[in-house]
């Protein structure tokens, strides 16, 4: 692989200030990551999985949300993780290791998607750029809290996962980073290379669209409709 093919240095994701809670724990994790990276570079390469393990779930979810296939997402994660290992010397600690790894995974997943389904990728590129139109939520009536125990039911989890999959790409990636993985506003914007304002605009749209998709299917803890999501724009469903 030539130098130009590798992941970008983390200097591209310079940290922005964040006043969100939980930052102390993040700092601790970042310090631990830095120590592991130092030791791996010094020759203890067998420690690499230990560095990656805390991030494996979030990079898998990110990859899955892009390629929408479990096996493909897993291959993608493995390739991204190895790519990060080969380019670990380019990581200068100016962003969190996890953010850098997520960025590499996103690039890997998009590259795979382009190869697998080039026409689909082009059509998504064209149709995702509709941020200018204000989203008007549907009138769907009351929604009572759905207890988390509902998630024991496979069909409920499937409804949520498929609803997220059905979002346009720019909305899906913001939603997955922010609401599924719990990244903070600044980190989400950094990873995607967009402004915090743009990130928030996309997140609002994603959340409202999801509500319109999911609310008619899940209400009061019961599944009101078993109808599959409409085909058309998302032919993979």
């Amino acid at each position: 692989m030539g130098a130009g093919d590798g992941p970008r240095s983390d200097a591209d994701f310079q940290s922005r200030s964040s006043s969100l809670p939980g930052i102390a724990r993040t700092d601790k994790a970042t310090t631990e990551d830095a120590e592991l990276i130092r030791r791996i570079r010094a020759g203890e390469r067998e420690l690499y999985y230990e560095l990656v393990a805390p991030h494996e779930r979030k990079i898998y979810i990110m990859a899955f949300s892009i390629v929408r296939n479990e096996a493909e997402a897993e291959d993608c994660v493995q390739d991204a993780v190895l790519k990060a290992l080969r380019h670990l010397d380019q990581f200068r600690g100016e962003s969190k290791f996890g953010s850098w790894l997520v960025r590499i995974t996103i690039n890997e997943a998009k590259m795979r998607l382009r190869k697998l389904r080039p026409q689909l990728f082009e059509s998504l590129d064209d149709t995702d750029n509709d941020e200018g139109d204000e989203y008007v939520p549907q009138t769907l009536g009351d929604w009572r809290e759905i207890p988390s125990e509902t998630l024991e039911r496979t069909e409920v989890r499937e409804i949520l996962v498929r609803a997220v999959e059905s979002l346009g790409e720019i909305y899906r990636e913001v939603f997955v980073l922010r609401d599924v993985e719990g990244q903070d506003v600044a980190t989400t914007a950094q990873i995607l290379g967009i402004s915090e304002v743009a990130m928030k605009t996309r997140l609002l749209r994603a959340r409202l669209q999801l509500r319109d998709i999911v609310a008619p299917l899940l209400k009061n803890g019961a599944i009101l409709s078993r109808q599959p999501f409409k085909r058309g724009r998302n032919p993979w469903l």
Binding site: R45, E134, Y135, L140, I146, L151, V161, D179, G182, R211
Partner: protein, 76 residues
Amino acid sequence: MAMTCKEVWREISNYIDDSVSPELREELELHLAYCSHCTAIVDAVHNIIVLVADGRTFSLPAGFSDRLKARIKKEL
């Protein structure tokens, strides 16, 4: 002047993320106190966020970690 529904929708995300000013929060809550449509939207969005953040919704395939470890080991 009281907020319209359209103005409330623009702020729903920020309201749920607790990133609105105290003044704006007060205005939003004033609107939500009488608007059942906007209240339903806020409740649903909040609920969906709680459900998708639960580790059971998006989980790793069985054996994922072992296979990743093995692939790394092969590379080393």
